[in-house]
Amino acid sequence: MRSAMPDLTAEDRAFVDSLVGDQPAGWDVAGELPDDVLRKLGTRGLLCAQVPTAHGGIGASSRSNGEFTAHVGSLCSSLRSVMTSQGMAAWTVQKLGDSAQRAAHLRRLTGGQLAAVCFSEPAAGSDLAAMGTTIRRVGDSVVVDGHKKWATAAAYADLLVVFGRYEDGAAAVVVPTSAPGVRVERVIDPLGCRAAGHAHVRLDDVRLPADSLLGGVAQGLPLLVTTALAYGRFSVAWGCVGILRACRTAAAEHASTRQQFGRPIAEHQLVARHLAELYIAEQTASRVCEHASDCWDAGSPEVVVATVLAKHVAAGNAARGAGSAVQVLASAAATDGHVVARAYRDAKLMEIIEGSSEICQLILAEHATSVR
């Protein structure tokens, strides 16, 4: 039984710690997360902790879920990526779905089923307006055709939230991966987050009941995408705080114990500077993420730009910070699976997804000129 006050608890953290243990290195090398770990976390509502209690979720605040996301991110970015997908799917259903769809799907997402979100296509990466996937209404069904790329967690997923063109606008549909016409093709040897189950998805004349269409009507693509990404960006940002925490801890530990030239390397000033920069990167990323979450929890309109800022700052800091950590550990971190080696590969990808650094900069520039 959870306590009356809905939020994440120390027990939730301990539960994750006990499931994860020292396995992330092995998961990274194998490129696979154990199904039972994902299902256990999912059944406890931990993969999308902000889902309201009325829908079987934990009802966590953004701040508390953010801290939790950072904790998981410090252990394993692959697992954290699965949380980001699940949370983004849940948020999309919550925002775009009608009450019957929310009731049905959110129960599944807090009941052990896993979900992925599909925006990207071969010709539509940063430019999602180029999306070619179509959703058509045919009698009592909707029919989906398209080719999606790089959907995180799709290899594990029971459900896909697929964005596509619909009537004179766009829409999102919930597609079971078991539906005829769905083919999930795993990405082989991804650069980072290697166990996150990235996959390309082919949707070939996929026929679904009409109520698979979230909200039931055509909407504007930019608003749909922006809505879904809001959660994804915030989750990636907090995940990067976790990466930085893991790197700072590993670098500080190593620099205090590794001796060269007769003293701990932390006493060489050029090494000490790396440690200072890692600390700065971690702290500044934490503060911008806390601010974004506090805006989210307060219902402040500033949340929109604060989330993009948090994602941009945290991802850039994580990519640079992980580079510094590899430098400090040197050969000690130069094998795959090592927490710092993983951070180095995983963090770089965080500068690409959910709005690349350049796309974030364009959004922030537009904001800067609009608030003169």
């Binding site: 309201p52 749909l224 922006t226 809001a230 402040s300």
Partner: protein
């Protein structure tokens, strides 16, 4: 919370809502805004700013904007947002117990 609730009551007429929205938009964008102006075509509003407006409207008017209401047309003008708000405040359907 009493002050906020009173504010909410005071502006619950179409004219009151329009007036409040115009002043919010003018303050936020530093541009002149009229109730019927197409905010997207005139470049006053981007889809990121539309998201901001949604969060603002949800908080300020205690509504939840979800599902089929999340279309840009509902935010295209002050008049469109006003009629959306009046409709959402009038219905007791728990759309978006988000």
């Amino acid at each position: 919370m009493t002050i906020e609730q009173e504010t909410g009551e005071a502006v619950a007429t179409p004219a009151g809502i329009e007036e409040q929205l115009v002043s919010y938009l003018e303050e936020r964008t530093k541009a002149r805004v009229t109730p019927d102006q197409d905010l997207f075509r005139s470049g006053v509003v981007s889809s990121m700013f539309a998201m901001e407006l949604i969060v603002y409207l949800e908080k300020e008017y205690q509504v939840s904007i979800a599902g089929g209401d999340l279309k840009l047309d509902n935010f295209r003008s002050v008049a469109a947002m006003t009629s959306l708000l009046l409709r959402l405040r009038g219905s007791s359907d728990a759309v978006g117990d988000a």
